[in-house]
Assembly symmetry: D2
Amino acid sequence: MGGDRSRIMQDSKQEALQRMKSIAGHVKGIERMLENDAYCIDVIKQVQAVEAALNKVNSLLLEGHLHTCVITAVRGEDVLERERVLGEIAGVFETSAKL
Amino acid sequence: MGGDRSRIMQDSKQEALQRMKSIAGHVKGIERMLENDAYCIDVIKQVQAVEAALNKVNSLLLEGHLHTCVITAVRGEDVLERERVLGEIAGVFETSAKL
Amino acid sequence: MGGDRSRIMQDSKQEALQRMKSIAGHVKGIERMLENDAYCIDVIKQVQAVEAALNKVNSLLLEGHLHTCVITAVRGEDVLERERVLGEIAGVFETSAKL
Amino acid sequence: MGGDRSRIMQDSKQEALQRMKSIAGHVKGIERMLENDAYCIDVIKQVQAVEAALNKVNSLLLEGHLHTCVITAVRGEDVLERERVLGEIAGVFETSAKL
C-alpha cells in the first residue's frame, strides 16, 4: 500500500479510537443513570445517542477502508481477493440495514 | 405505583444494567482492536454487534416503561401528563427510525 | 371511544393515506428508472427516500394509535387487553430497530 | 465494461425491477387497508414489511454496482472518478445508517 493510503487508514483508525474512548465514557454514564434509577426515557435517549455515535465511527472506518484496502484489492490482479473485499462491503451494508 | 409495577421496572433496569456492563467490555475490546491495527471490516462488525446489543437494551427499557409509568400516567386524571408520556413514546420511536 | 379520539385517528389515517398515494407514485418512478437503466446509486438514493417517507407514515400512525386505542385500552378495566395493546407497541419498536 | 460485468448489472437491475413491482402492489394494499379503516398496528406492520423489502432491493443494487461500476472506476486511471465512486458508496452507507 502506498504511503498516502497507509496514512489515510491510520488517520481514520486514530479518529475512530478517540471516538470509541468517548463512547466508553458515555456507556459508563448510562450505567450510573441505571444505578441511580433515572427516568427510563432519559436512559433510552442516551442509548440512542451512543448508537448515533457508533454509526459515525463505522462511517469513518468504512470510508478509510474504501480508500485503502478496497483500492489495493480492486486494482490488484487477484480476482478472488477482489471478490472477497467487495463482498465484505455488501455484507456490512446488509447488516447495517438490519440495525 | 403498585408493588407489581414497581418490581417490573426494577427488573428491567437491573437487566439493562447487566447488559450495559457487558457492552462496556465490548467497547473496550473494540478500542484494543483499533490500537492493534485490526482489519477494518472486523472492527466495523464488532461495532454493529454493540449496536444490536444497545437496541436490545432499549427494547427492554421501553417494555418496562410501558408496563409501569405509561400505565400510571394514562390511568391517572392529569390529561397533560398523559399527553406528555405518550408524546415521549412517539419521540423515541421517531428517533429510533433515524438510527 | 370519545368523538375527539375518533377524530384524531381519522385524521392520522387520512394523512397516512395521502402520503401512501404519493409513495406509490415514487415507487412507480423507481420502476421507470430501472427500466431506463438509470445509474445504480441514483436508484438507491430514491429507494432510501421512499424508506424515509414510510418511516414518517409509521410515526404518524403510531402517534394516532397512542392517543386513541392505547388510551382506551389502558384506561379500560380489561387487564389482558391492556397488556396486549402495550405488547404491540413494544413489538413495533423492536421490529423498527431491525430495519 | 466487459460482457460479464455488464450482465451482472443487468441481472441485478432486472431482479430489482421485479421486486419493485411487487412492492408497488404491497403499497396499494396498504392504501386499501387505510381506506377500510384497518387496525393501526396491522398497517404499521405492513409498512415495516415494505421497508424490509426495499432494504433488500438496495442490497441487490449495491452488490451489482460494486461488481461493475466500482471495479471499472477503481481499476481505471482517472483518480478523481475513482474518488467520486468510492465517496458515493460511503454516502449511501451513511444515509442507510439514518433510516
